[in-house]
């Protein structure tokens, strides 16, 4: 697959509900084979963005391309190549696990093997269980199985692990990473920072319909640019400073200490973690003022 053509391209995307602008000019690209995360608090506009890309909602403005198609036209060729896990979504009341997956397999031109998909989603043990008697986490895995059965190139996951216990989340992460090994492209939304950090090649932090920053989780922290230098001064007070480049400050501190003939107590140079960035970007200005 050519590296030049992104799997998803979003330019200046807008979506209003009445007066309320839920998505207010969003741009991003997802390369083929990438796991891309939209990370943001509730109400940030993640589901709205993803459901526009899935063809469920009509955008108010901007350009969107998914595998080269405009999802708003809902071309069948696109639906054959995408798998969707919606944020919340039910199923027939009386359908059984394997029956559902087998039925969904019949909707796609080149489905994967039903038992293999049950295996990788951890549902193989109870194929004849009625879907409605599954636990929340198991039902979510069935959602994933139904999204994977068509062997899609692109998979949308809207909060795939919300409500999972930690062990189940780790299992889900493993499954999602395996998708990448198969060459799939994944767009996921989450409000869990550790999930974005653990899974995503790149993350966009979104709040109030705008992308605040975007990049690989590791460089997101770095691109915030600042180092935090902390130390205990001669008076025993804890000092902290943020620097674009800490070289000069470190030099100053160390030479002063050498001149005094004493060590510097508790010195540390750290970069803000993704968590720091996230909290800083998504916290309300009101909170900061307090």
């Amino acid at each position: 697959m050519s590296q030049s053509a992104p799997a998803i391209l979003v330019r200046d995307l807008h979506k209003s509900y009445g007066d309320h602008e839920a998505v207010a000019g969003v741009d991003f690209e997802v390369a083929a084979g990438e796991i891309f995360g939209l990370l943001g608090p509730n109400g940030a506009g993640k589901t709205t963005t993803v459901e526009i890309l899935e063809g469920y909602r009509k955008r108010s403005g901007g350009i969107v391309s998914v595998l080269g198609f405009d999802p708003e036209q809902r071309p069948r060729a696109l639906r054959e190549r995408t798998g969707i896990v919606l944020q919340s979504c039910g199923l027939y009341r009386h359908i059984r696990v394997r029956e559902a997956v087998a039925h969904w397999a019949g909707l796609y031109p080149h489905p994967r093997d039903v038992d293999e998909v049950l295996e990788i989603t951890g549902l193989a043990e109870r194929p004849n269980e009625p879907a409605r008697s599954l636990s929340g986490g198991q039902r979510r895995r069935l959602d994933l199985a139904l999204a994977l059965i068509g062997d899609p190139d692109l998979i949308f996951l809207d909060e795939p692990t919300t409500g999972f216990d930690p062990a189940a989340r780790r299992e889900a992460w493993t499954t999602i990473r395996q998708l990448q090994e198969l060459g799939k492209t994944v767009l996921l939304t989450t409000h869990y920072l550790d999930e974005a950090q653990a899974l995503c090649d790149r993350v966009a932090i979104i709040k109030e319909g705008r992308i605040l920053t975007e990049g690989p989780p590791a460089t997101l922290s770095a691109s915030a640019g600042r180092y935090r230098v902390a130390w205990r001064d001669e008076a025993g007070k804890l000092q902290e400073r943020e620097e674009e480049d800490p070289t000069a400050l470190l030099h100053q501190l160390t030479s002063a200490a050498l001149a005094r003939g004493a060590g510097i107590e508790e010195i540390s140079v750290t970069r803000p973690s993704l968590e720091d960035i996230y909290l800083e970007l998504t916290s309300d200005p009101v909170d900061e003022a307090v």
Binding site: Y17, E54, G55, Y56, R57, K58, R76, R79, E80, T82, I84, L86, S88, C89, G90, L91, Y92, R93, H94, I95, E99, H103, W104, G106, L107, Y108, P109, L146, G150
Partner: protein, 247 residues
């Protein structure tokens, strides 16, 4: 895979789901039959009454298995997000609806078949007098009420409200549409309302098919009213259709 194959697979799934839900199967399938035998028992001595009630119950059954069942079912599927999930797959919307409506139509045809057998062996009416009447009005009745049911599901706000919404249409309509007694006993304004609604015309046609054997050419006005209802219902069923609860 072709749309026909996909429709057929969906139809088979719907049939399995239907039988796995005994309560719903009872209400939309056996209840009208229960009516048939109760009223049949009450009026067993009056052939004149039976000649009204048997086609009346046939019409009621067609409406219950299509209009009531589909209005309720579509509301449920929409509210639960099943429609939304299906909409994200390559399954053409038409194939999906064909499966669901086909399943409802199957229930209606089953019931007509049971009414035919009961007419012959229980109610002394004999085999249908005019098969073309019977077939035309069964199919037209199914089409009309199925489309009405889907269209009506668009205005039902949620699944909890579905029984109330359907019964407020269904119960008055069966009481004034010559299901249990001849329309002549109604005050004129009620009879006029009944004539404007579709059910009485389905029943007229089924009565011609099952009891009187009047030729199809005598039922043109019934056909005309039904055709208008069918076209309008199909229009609103398609126009208002939504795969999701909110945009």
């Amino acid at each position: 895979m072709s749309t026909a194959t996909l429709s057929w697979r969906q139809y088979r799934l719907e049939r399995r789901m239907f039988w796995r839900n005994p309560a719903a199967a009872f209400f939309s399938f056996f209840l009208p039959l229960l009516f048939l035998f109760l009223f049949g028992a009450i009026f067993r001595d009056s052939q004149e009454n039976l000649d009204i009630i048997v086609p009346g119950i046939a019409g009621l059954s067609v409406m219950a298995t299509t209009f009531n069942a589909l209005a309720t079912q579509m509301t449920f599927l929409r509210e639960q997000g099943v429609l939304k999930r299906i909409h994200g797959t390559p399954l053409p919307g038409g194939a999906y609806l064909a499966g669901i409506i086909g399943s409802a139509a199957t229930n209606a045809v089953f019931q007509i078949a049971i009414v035919i057998v009961a007419a012959r062996f229980v109610f002394n009416i004999g085999w249908p007098q005019n098969w073309p009447d019977l077939i035309v009005f069964t199919l037209l009745g199914i089409t009309c009420f199925a489309a009405m049911g889907v269209a009506y599901s668009h205005v039902i706000p949620n699944f909890e409200a579905a029984p109330a919404y359907t019964n407020i249409v269904f119960l008055p309509m069966i009481f004034i549409s010559s299901v249990f007694y001849d329309v002549d006993v109604l005050p004129k304004f009620l009879a006029d309302i009944a004539e404007a609604l579709p059910l009485i015309h389905v029943i007229n046609g089924l009565k011609a098919g099952l009891v009187t054997g009047a030729p199809l050419s005598d039922q043109l006005s019934d056909l005309a009213v039904l055709a208008i209802w069918t076209v309008a219902s199909v229009f609103f069923a398609i126009r208002g259709f939504s795969w999701t609860t909110r945009d």
